[in-house]
């Protein structure tokens, strides 16, 4: 599984979490544009994966709805963790950032 495939799988899992209204790009726009250019596609996953010194960090930016952002963020992290476990990346760090609250 490539990093982009892993990121896409995490995005799908997080979108399926109750209370997650949407997933936003975790990469800054300029970095995302650069990645799109190098990857030759405009449909990159919105989840960001970064590898540094062998350690994997997964960053997910979400928009959440009712009832409570902290619980939804926690559930989103758990969904990401489930995908990572299945992919053999159980020790990855997961960062979930609530970027918007939709009411």
């Amino acid at each position: 599984m490539t990093d982009d495939e892993l990121a896409a799988a995490i995005e799908v899992a997080v979108r399926g979490v109750a209370g997650v209204a949407t997933v936003y790009s975790a990469l800054p726009p300029l970095a995302r544009s650069a990645r799109q250019l190098t990857a030759g596609t405009s449909t990159l996953p919105l989840v960001a994966l970064a590898r540094r010194d062998g350690a994997l960090t997964v960053t997910v930016n979400v928009g959440v709805g009712a009832p409570q952002a902290p619980a939804t963020a926690s559930a989103a992290a758990l969904a990401a963790r489930t995908v990572l476990d299945a992919a053999g990346a159980a020790d990855a760090e997961v960062v979930v950032r609530v970027s918007r609250v939709h009411d």
Binding site: P28, V95, S99, V101
Partner: protein, 213 residues
């Protein structure tokens, strides 16, 4: 719509990266909204800060869009400069800002909510109160240290003739409730200042000042 390229700056000037680094200005986003968000633009749709600004524009509604479009000359409601300040504040507040931590039992997991999301939450709560329009929202205190007390400062405009104290109290209560539900911040105070009053344009046939005779 087209993406406006900022004019070349003088040596040493910085190029405006647009809202959320998207390259799109407030006017671009307003145009995008006016066109029903079509054709879909992922650079805007996938950008939380752009979406925050769009949501704020929608809340303020047709009244503000008309004024932003410089049709305010014959509009007796909030003046254009007030709306200019309002949208400058919305654009500024939409910036993600600091990450405000949320607790997680898993040491391999970091959870947070952005400062921009919290400011939007506050603004939406205030705008949701009938007769209130939030002008500016500021968060004071150490947001990044769990348990540190913070203070929320909001300025609002109130509909002319509406009960000011009641509206301010309702705004304060709603903001507090939203922060309690969606953050783990320790909120010491929510200070609401009524900075302006406004009228609704389609009510201009009614003399709400009581000065007519």
């Amino acid at each position: 719509m087209t993406m406006e390229t900022p004019p070349p700056g003088e040596p040493g000037d910085t190029v405006d990266p647009g809202i959320g680094g998207s390259g799109y200005t407030l006017e671009d986003l307003s145009d995008y909204l006016d066109h029903g968000r079509l054709p879909a633009n992922p650079a805007i749709d996938d950008n939380a800060e752009c979406q925050s600004v769009l949501a704020s524009i929608e809340r303020v509604g047709a009244l503000s869009r008309d004024l932003v479009a410089k049709d305010a000359a014959d509009n007796p409601a909030l003046d254009e400069s007030w709306f200019g300040s309002l949208f400058a504040a919305i654009s500024n507040e939409a910036k993600a800002g600091r990450d405000i931590p949320l607790s997680s039992p898993d040491p391999r997991t970091r959870l947070s909510i952005t400062e921009g999301a919290v400011r939007e939450l506050v603004r939406a709560a205030g705008d949701g109160v009938d007769g209130a329009l939030v002008g500016r929202c500021q968060l004071h205190g150490d947001l990044e240290s769990p348990g540190s007390g913070i203070r929320v400062e909001i300025s609002i405009s109130v509909l002319l003739g509406a009960p000011v104290h009641e509206i301010a109290a309702t705004v304060r209560q709603r903001v507090y409730s939203e922060l309690l539900a969606h953050t783990e911040l320790s909120v010491d105070a929510v200070d609401v200042t009524v900075a302006d009053v406004h009228v609704v344009p389609d009510l201009d046939a009614t003399d709400t000042t009581g000065s007519g005779a």
